[in-house]
């Protein structure tokens, strides 16, 4: 519990490095966490080898959701879309370096769900994308 608001989380929440929008972009997707009204949008620019050149996230919500979005965005630059498709819940928890209960897990995983839904070209960011 002490760890839940570790410095890295508060820091990425207050001073996100990858907050913003990309215009133009190759992929953009956004969705909400209906439970708490968190909102995340992720924009990607993709190079000819299907690797992420540039990435930005935008949105609002709690520290966990916004910090994990910033960390995730940072981590995918240079990764191929195929690599990103394999990311799951544990990767996010490793990035945050914390354990989360079921309610806050939804906050932490929203950005990954949005990212994967965008890459797969889906209509909504569903839970089974991050299982």
């Amino acid at each position: 519990m002490e760890d839940l608001y570790r410095e890295v989380i508060i820091d990425h929440y207050k001073n996100p490095q990858y907050r913003g929008k990309l215009e133009p972009h190759d992929i953009s997707f956004e969705d909400d966490n209906p439970l708490c009204g968190d909102h995340i949008r992720i924009d990607l620019r993709i190079d000819k080898d299907s690797r992420v050149n540039e990435a930005r996230f935008d949105g609002h919500g709690c520290a966990i959701s916004q910090a994990s979005a910033d960390l995730l965005t940072e981590s995918i630059i240079g990764k191929s879309l195929e690599e990103i498709k394999t990311l799951n819940k544990q990767d996010i928890l490793d990035m945050l370096g914390i354990e989360l209960g079921p309610v806050r897990l939804k906050c932490a995983l929203l950005s990954l769900k949005v990212l994967k839904a965008g890459i797969y070209g889906l209509g909504e960011a569903s839970d089974d994308l991050v299982e």
């Binding site: 519990m1 002490e2 839940l4 608001y5 508060i10 207050k14 439970l35 708490c36 009204g37 968190d38 609002h60 919500g61 709690c62 520290a63 966990i64 806050r104 906050c107």
Partner: protein, 409 residues
């Protein structure tokens, strides 16, 4: 009037002794979501299963007779608690939500036609919105909403205007689960009747905390849940005026709701069984009876007075914190619920950090998303108080909020 002996009350609630983290006692400020349960209620469930567990109404043996008597006795207690003219006007349901759905499926579908108007308010819980949305999509009834003004009260002038459109039903909350606003139920009902409408009063928050008298209010329907008033989950009630209930078609079909059954036809049972298909939540209903008895023992006037003291103190302490904004009317016009925002810190973060100090509050839109849209905020943190809360718990909440501020500063 003697004040509540809160220390003595706390001894009746075993859960209040527990620690939620090592060395951190529980400060439970989430009774608006669900209340804690006193030992008498826990023992009522325990004793049912240990000594007289049986299905009710049809059994001939001793256990079945005892179970039936206790179940029906509980109905009498609940009826007395809201001053219903007779116990058969109290239908046991799963909860407030199911009670509202019962009225929407049974009364509304039999009595409303396309174009008929239902008046709701902007401060409704989703449970008093969605059943009517579903009816509107399906059957073309119209919905209008009494607005909430900046003091957190209903705009009675707009209500008066809406009444000119000859609504058939006015369904509204007695006490907001976010703002804490206590709506002028008697006046709203009187005006609805004058306009030819019937009324559904959502008592989920008021019945646990205020004296609610259905005859004095002249309510047509009153709905409430046991679990918010010291009782078990899975049991609630629908009160209705006799003439309305008598003329309503059954809701769910099955055992116990019938008088006679043939292969191709059936005759429904009389009230209240007409609306209680299948084996009900027997032990929970019995626990509900124990809960209202416990509240009666304390006296609802005393309960109200204690909660007024708590909310006065809570608002006074919360409002002195820079960056805190509490929503809703001043303390004297509201129940013991304080929904607030703290600067632009997300309520989930606030609640999570408060939990570290053992303080259990709720964060989110509290099933009142349209109200939050109206307030222009996605979510609030909500602290609520009940008979077992003490002023020092408000102090712990306040100390926790200062810790949140420090962490996010």
């Amino acid at each position: 009037m003697t004040a509540l002996d809160v220390k003595k009350i706390r001894a009746d609630f075993p859960i209040l002794d527990r620690q939620v983290h090592p060395g951190v006692p529980l400060v439970y400020l989430d009774s608006t979501a669900t209340s804690q349960k006193p030992l008498v209620v826990i023992e009522a469930l325990n004793s049912f299963y240990r000594t007289y567990n049986a299905n009710i109404h049809r059994g001939i043996h001793v256990l079945a007779e005892e179970a039936t008597a206790m179940y029906e006795d509980s109905r009498v207690k609940v009826a007395r608690f809201i001053n219903a003219p007779s116990a058969r006007q109290v239908i046991f349901t799963r909860n407030t939500t199911e009670s509202i759905n019962l009225v929407a499926y049974s009364w509304a579908r039999a009595n409303l036609k396309s174009g008929d108007l239902i008046i709701l308010t902007e401060m409704e819980h989703h449970s008093n919105l969605i059943p009517w949305h579903m009816l509107a999509f399906e059957g073309g009834v119209r919905l209008e909403f009494i607005p909430v003004n900046e003091t957190g009260s209903l705009d009675m002038q707009v209500y008066q205007e809406l009444l000119k459109q000859e609504p058939r039903l006015v369904a509204f909350t007695h006490m907001s689960n976010v703002l804490g606003t206590i709506n002028p139920a008697a006046e709203i009902i009187r005006r609805a009747h004058a306009a030819g409408a019937i009324t559904l009063l959502d008592g989920a928050q008021s019945v646990p905390h205020l004296s609610v008298d259905v005859q004095e209010l002249d309510a047509d329907f009153l709905v409430f849940s046991a679990h918010k008033m010291l009782g078990p989950t899975g049991i609630g009630a629908l009160y209705g005026k006799l003439e309305l209930l008598e003329n309503m078609p059954p809701f769910l079909g099955g055992g116990d709701m019938i008088k006679t059954v043939h292969l191709r036809s059936f005759l429904p049972n009389s009230l209240p069984h007409k609306f209680e298909a299948g084996t009900p939540a027997i032990s929970e209903a019995i626990g509900f009876g124990s809960a209202v008895e416990y509240l009666e023992g304390l006296g609802m006037t005393q309960v109200e007075a204690h909660e007024q003291e708590m909310i006065h103190y809570a608002l006074e302490r919360l409002e002195e914190i820079p960056g805190v904004r509490v929503y809703g009317p001043p303390a004297e016009h509201k129940g013991a619920v304080a929904a607030f925002t703290l600067e632009d810190i997300h309520p989930h973060d606030v609640a999570q950090i408060l939990d570290r100090y053992g303080v259990a509050v709720r964060a989110g839109h509290h099933c009142a998303q349209p109200l939050h849209e109206k307030l222009g905020i996605p979510a609030t943190t909500r602290a609520s108080f009940y008979i077992y809360n003490m002023p020092h718990e408000v102090d712990q909440l306040v100390a926790g909020i200062y810790q949140v501020k420090k962490m996010f500063s």
